[in-house]
């Protein structure tokens, strides 16, 4: 059964290629069956392979062919299956299938239906390669592959230049991180002599001591790749703009799977990171600061998708925090629950937008609770899980992260406190969203209701978001992958506080946005309040800074140099030759007297030279 492994990425690949070569001539029904069905087949195969894997629990290694082989440099096209891979594959194919199913209805009216599924299937293929790769080079192939699919899907409606800009921004910003990661690969190969992940980890452990410079450097370079892909500071700016793509794309790529690739990368190479404590601390700090930055930004946005985008950035920040404090399992657990509830939220948001004439501004919505009940319940459950209300799936994973952060010697309590502040903000902004959109006065009437192909995925994701916390962790065979966490538990007080914070956030949101008992208008309208709001709204002005720091100077440079200044050198050679020509041609006058005189003069000079007079 394990031998079926290569089929899992093959299904979406074949489907994608078929959809591409038929160039939209396939009937829509068939496109839907092929597009969603291929991912469904992958999900079933993943289940079969997963069951076979669980029997033994032994990692499975499968080489397809030698990719390139030059001396010691010999990466293969090969897959490696262990608990971590299986978790990722389940999320990608499982949640991926639900999102594909949702898309078959959501995108039905689009003329480029088949192009959409071609890209989406290609994305699933690349993402599967990313998590199944047994070496970092193949992982890099998947890594760049998902980046390209993200680029294509963000710019899916390419007629609008804004979408094109967002797509290019997404690709180029992540490419900056990818290049750091590539340098990390060069360094790792140069020093350890292999890019195969398991032998590489072994070589690192035997060659390097904890705290050596090289592992720190290598891990920081890998972290560069991770922050790019996972939209963490300082490379997060592309994700909010990437919301220009169709909403199911945001659910799949920019919430559930691709943006968590950075988390996967760090977890996959955790043995390297364990050798580099400073890099671990950097991961934790990046995660914490990002989660606070993004949560505060989400608090003041108007656009329903942008709120969710910043929320994603913030939640991935939690995963980074978990990885940074060595809570590997907790980080991956949060990745899984986040995939459930954030996919749910995005799909529900998509349904709202779909049914509400493509409206994105939450303050133009309101009272949708009774108009779109299925969507309302989905959103409510998703938000509860996002805010980590007790007993939802998000609660279990976030709680685990915070408590383990607290346990870290030294900075632990600070990280915990920062994480709590983030949790408070998270609860406020998620219920602000719920209350503004679904309660209050109705401002717009929906013109349609979600059909069954949209409702069923929502329903299933609701269930997963609610109870995913109970079954996900015990089922997931991660113990064999990561070093086990400490058994020591923080006091009940700490646990109690961690549990209460989201409820306080919910209450604050209720008093401000629903009952109106807490009026913050004066605070917001005061000068510092306005400034802070503006600062938060702009995402801490990062776009502004990058525009001045990189985009404009680079564009200016390109415009300045476009005329090819190197040619100035060659043109001046040409000028000199031309001048010489003009000068010498003056001597050619056609007058006999002048020629005779110069001849005589020349003869005198030659004779003088011969006689040695001069």
């Amino acid at each position: 059964m394990l031998k079926l492994l290569p089929l899992i990425p093959l299904f979406p690949l074949v489907s994608s290629v078929l959809l591409m070569v038929t160039t939209g001539k396939m009937p829509k029904r068939l496109v839907a069956i092929l597009g969603a069905g291929s991912v469904g087949l992958s999900a079933i195969t993943t289940l079969l392979v997963g069951l076979a894997f669980m029997e033994t629990g032994q990692p499975h290694h499968q080489v397809l062919w030698t990719w390139m082989h030059v001396g010691a440099f010999s990466p293969d096209i090969a897959f490696y299956l262990d608990g971590l891979t299986l978790v990722m594959m389940s999320v990608i194919t499982g949640v991926g299938f639900l999102i594909h199913l949702f898309s078959t209805e959501f995108m039905e009216e689009d003329v480029s239906y088949s192009r959409y599924f071609a890209y989406l299937n290609m994305f699933v293929f690349a993402m599967l390669i990313l998590v199944m790769a047994d070496n970092l080079l193949l992982l890099y192939l998947g890594w760049e592959g998902v980046g390209v699919c993200s680029y294509l899907l963000v710019g899916f409606w390419y007629q609008n230049p804004d979408n094109g800009l967002a797509a290019r921004k997404a690709f180029v910003v992540t490419r900056v991180g990818d290049t750091a990661m590539a340098l990390g690969l060069f360094l790792l190969f140069t020093e350890l002599g292999t890019l195969d992940i398991q032998p590489m980890a072994a070589a690192a452990n035997s060659q390097w001591q904890v705290g050596d410079t090289l592992p720190v450097l290598a891990c920081l370079l890998l972290l560069g790749g991770a922050v790019g892909k996972s939209a963490q500071l300082p490379l997060h700016t592309w994700l909010p703009d990437a919301m220009a793509g169709p909403t199911p794309v945001s659910a799949l790529i920019h919430a559930a799977t691709m943006v968590t690739a950075g988390v996967y990368l760090i977890a996959r190479t955790h043995e390297l990171f364990l050798l580099a404590p400073p890099a671990m601390l950097a991961v934790a700090l990046v995660g914490l600061i990002t989660s606070l930055m993004a949560a505060s930004t989400a608090l003041v946005q108007h656009d329903i998708k942008r709120i969710l985008a910043y929320s994603t950035i913030s939640q991935i920040g939690y995963m980074f925090l978990a990885l940074g404090v060595g809570a590997w399992t907790a980080g991956i657990f949060h990745l899984v629950t986040h995939a459930f509830f954030k996919a749910l939220l995005f799909l529900a948001a998509g349904a709202v937008i779909h049914c509400l004439h493509h409206e994105h501004n939450i303050f133009k919505m309101g009272g949708l609770r009774t108009r779109l009940p299925v969507v309302f319940w989905s959103f409510l459950i998703g938000s509860a899980a996002l805010a980590a209300l007790p007993l939802t799936s998000g609660f279990f994973s976030k709680d685990m992260i915070l408590l383990q952060a607290y346990e870290l010697p030294g900075a632990g309590p600070w990280l915990w406190a920062g994480g709590l502040l983030g949790a408070l903000l998270t609860a406020i902004y998620s219920f602000r969203l719920v209350f503004v959109v679904f309660f209050g006065k109705t401002q717009m009437e929906p013109d349609k209701q979600p059909g069954s192909r949209m409702a069923v995925p929502l329903l299933l994701l609701c269930i997963l978001s609610l109870v995913g916390g109970f079954f996900a962790l015990p089922l997931v065979p991660l113990e064999s992958v990561f070093p086990s966490a400490s058994e020591h538990h923080p006091s009940h007080l700490i646990e109690g506080i961690s549990m209460a914070i989201p409820l306080i956030g919910l209450a604050i949101a209720y008093f401000i946005y629903l009952s109106g008992q807490l009026n913050v208008d004066n605070l917001v309208n005061s000068a510092p309040g306005q400034m802070l709001k503006k600062f938060w709204f702009s995402g801490w002005a990062m776009d502004w800074v990058y525009d001045r720091l990189w985009v404009r100077p680079y564009k200016g440079l390109a415009t300045m140099l476009r005329g090819e200044w190197v040619d100035v050198i060659y043109n001046s050679i040409v000028k000199v030759c031309q001048q010489l020509f003009v000068g010498l041609s003056h001597t050619q006058t056609g007058r006999l007297r002048w020629y005779a005189t110069s001849m005589v003069f020349g003869v005198i000079v030659v004779i003088a030279l011969l006689l040695g007079v001069v």
């Binding site: 939209g24 082989h69 180029v172 490419r175 060069f186 140099l561």
Partner: protein, 510 residues
Amino acid sequence: MVLVNLILILLAGGVIAWLAERQHPLLPRWIALITILFDLGYFLTYMSDLSWSQIAIVPNPTDATTWLLHYKAEWIPRFGISFELAMDGLSLLMVILTLVLGAVAVSSSWTDIKQRTGFFEANLLWTLAGVLGVFLALDLFLFFLFWEVMLVPMYLMIAIWGHEGRGYASMKFFIFTQVSGLMMLLAILVLVMLNHSNTGVYSFSYFELLDHKVGGDIAFYLMLGFFVAFLVKLPGFPVHTWLPDAHTQAPTAGSVILAGILLKTGAYGLIRFVVPLFPNEALAFSPIAMGLGVAGIIYGAVLALGQDDFKRLVAYSSVSHMGFVLLGVFAWNALALQGAVMQMIAHGFSTAALFMIAGSLQERMHTRDMSKMGGLWQNMPRMGAVAMFFALASLGLPGLGNFVAEFMVLVGLFAVAPWIAAVAALGLIVAAIYSLMMMQRAFQGKPDEGRRLPDYGLREMLTMTVMIVGLIWLGLYPQPVLDTAQPVLDSLMQMVGSVAEPTKVAGLMP
């Protein structure tokens, strides 16, 4: 004799194509295509007799009998000049690349040449013959002769069938190549004279000259003579400025041959002549050469972004990509060298395709100005998808040939010069910027609703499929190519290895 026939077939095909125009103006293109495909078929049938074990034999550079094929005939015995052709794995790859892209080039100008079609196809075939000669000649005099032979018909192609600024562009192309070629000729002559004074015999044979290397200060200048000629052809910064003009003005087939094949003669020359003939000098020179390589990568990419002309953009991207070849050759290790060879092939495919797309746009819209394009995907979805593929190839997407090449160059380079590798890696970012900008400006954005443009037809899709499949194959299973080049590069490394162990030029690591 196979090697001679390869060249003769193309020369004869050119003459026939020229004469055939009198029968019918559309006949020459068929003759050209058939000639090239016949040549390719002839070569492949002959090659199919070779086994991998033969290819895997590491050729002794000074002993021609260990090469895959060798042909020698007396020519001007008084000066030690002979008609000597030989082929090893490297030239084998280059011959195949030349013939495949030659066929692509004929297809790319299938309909856009209306005047003097016979003479056009003749020039095209003669250029290819010259290129094959360059890849196969191992007598330095003969090499120089072919170097000139490929130049003249190319010049005519630009000067006669080029676009609005063809006069300036063709002259610039000719003078740059000619001046640098003369430097090489001078270096060849001095090398032969020095060899004569050392051994008492005149010989232009590569094998003889390799046996008796010259040393001293003069060798450095001789190396420079060769280096400059090849750098101009590559083209490397700062002697690249002929390329954007020549490419922009050349007819489509001319651009395809120029970018796909002609540039590779420069890279080939570096690997075949500069490094083996002057290993010490080349090693001493390598920091400067690497610096030029990095400068080319970044400079080409920045200028590519600044262009409005589709063809100029692709031309500058070539400058950027060929910088990796320079890095690969002078990084002085097997991995980077393999990367350089891969880059020669992969860049040949990807850039030839982009020039073909530029040519198709020019033919349909009568402009290359991207500010007049936009939304073309809507009008021509097949061309848009194809363009997207090659734009992605050009920005180094893993899974396609260009990535393999650039990655191997950078990995190899990192071991010797990590900082240079780090700067060169910036090329990956800037390549993404200009490639995606090109897609945006030409194919994305708001379409002009009134525009009616024919999409790619069968001939174009077939040609593009050849290159798409080629790039995917190079990206996912490059091993046959690597295996073919490996013995040659091994022997090269053995030769230079005796000169110096790979040293860390600017070491980051202790």
